[in-house]
Symmetry: C2
Subunit: 205 residues, 2 copies
Amino acid sequence: MTNKKIPDIIIGRLPLYLRALERMTTEGAIVTSSKELGEWVGISAAQIRKDISQFGEFGKQGTGYNIDFLSKKLREIMNIDRVWDVAIIGAGDIGHGLARYQGFLDRGFRVALAFDIDPEKIGTKIGDVVVEDISKMVVSINDADVKIAMIAVPADNAQDVAEKLVKAGVKAILNYATIIINVPEDVRVQYIDPATHLQWMTYYL
Amino acid sequence: MTNKKIPDIIIGRLPLYLRALERMTTEGAIVTSSKELGEWVGISAAQIRKDISQFGEFGKQGTGYNIDFLSKKLREIMNIDRVWDVAIIGAGDIGHGLARYQGFLDRGFRVALAFDIDPEKIGTKIGDVVVEDISKMVVSINDADVKIAMIAVPADNAQDVAEKLVKAGVKAILNYATIIINVPEDVRVQYIDPATHLQWMTYYL
DNA sequence: TAGATTGTTAATCGATTAACAATC
DNA sequence: TAGATTGTTAATCGATTAACAATC
């Protein structure tokens, strides 16, 4: 039942489930079980069932889960049964990589805007969008009603950019800058930092 | 005490602590407390103390923690009190961004090797390294005794690359390809996938 | 000494697993 | 019907928090 608060840790597993289901679809499967799905994502069958049952009864006893149906439901739950426009701030290597990343469109996202401060980059095209002057960012994002942004600027400018994004109405930020940014409570931030990920593994080497 | 198994969840927080401590250092601080550090990283003071005490007694009652000393200890624990050579597989946008990423060197990593399959890219320089032919990857990585690699190739080739990396002796893989790769148990894999991170946030929008 | 803060124990909280009735 | 698998409850496990003696 969706009226009680679902723990973050469960929400964090839903994209994994969906990705595995999508993979199964491409391999031609129609139904799966909590056992099989669990093996794909490395999580116990009991936990898969428990997680999914937080949102409704999507399976059938004796049969398992219809993959298309469960995928659809997961997309609804995660709010990706639509396409979200996203903005990229910073048109360097990372910004370029993101703009040209092929994995967004079929997973609910479209790069709609890109910004940079460098006059040489403004006006050039990355992916399908033209890089705009960062001074127009707040207005453009506001006008386009974009709620999701990815920060790919140097660490020194990240906090400043974040504050402008908040002003523009952005509610979710994916931050590639190696710095913790401060934003209001109702704005979500995720960090992607290769060095931190590597450090997490060196402990075990 | 280091003889009992430390939970993964604690290991995962150590890089956050270290990053905050490094930031404090640049701001000129000498000592900190579990309370202050906790506020920086958004974790309770009790938990900070508990985590740190898993590895030894690094603080002083009444005073707190010496930032330099604690940083040094954390680096030792995480095995980054040395520089790890890393290899980049794939010299596209993401590979380029990684090769030129400034945050590696002062955090324990050096990009030592890069590979691509495209003849046009082989021989060119990205960051400080020359892109080698991917067919030489296993031998080169083996010779250089590199244990850490970052996969930045298309999803279709990721599993194949991963298997070659394992053959070359790599024990830690940071995977930017949008696909789950299968490797032996003693090889660690971390995934970086912007779409998955975004999906994690759209639930709350 | 008085105040502050650690390291650690015990209490609480939450998440995972095991088990099984319901049922396809 | 017999076999399989869900959804859910109870039991277990592990992580977080609260509290406080030790001590700088």
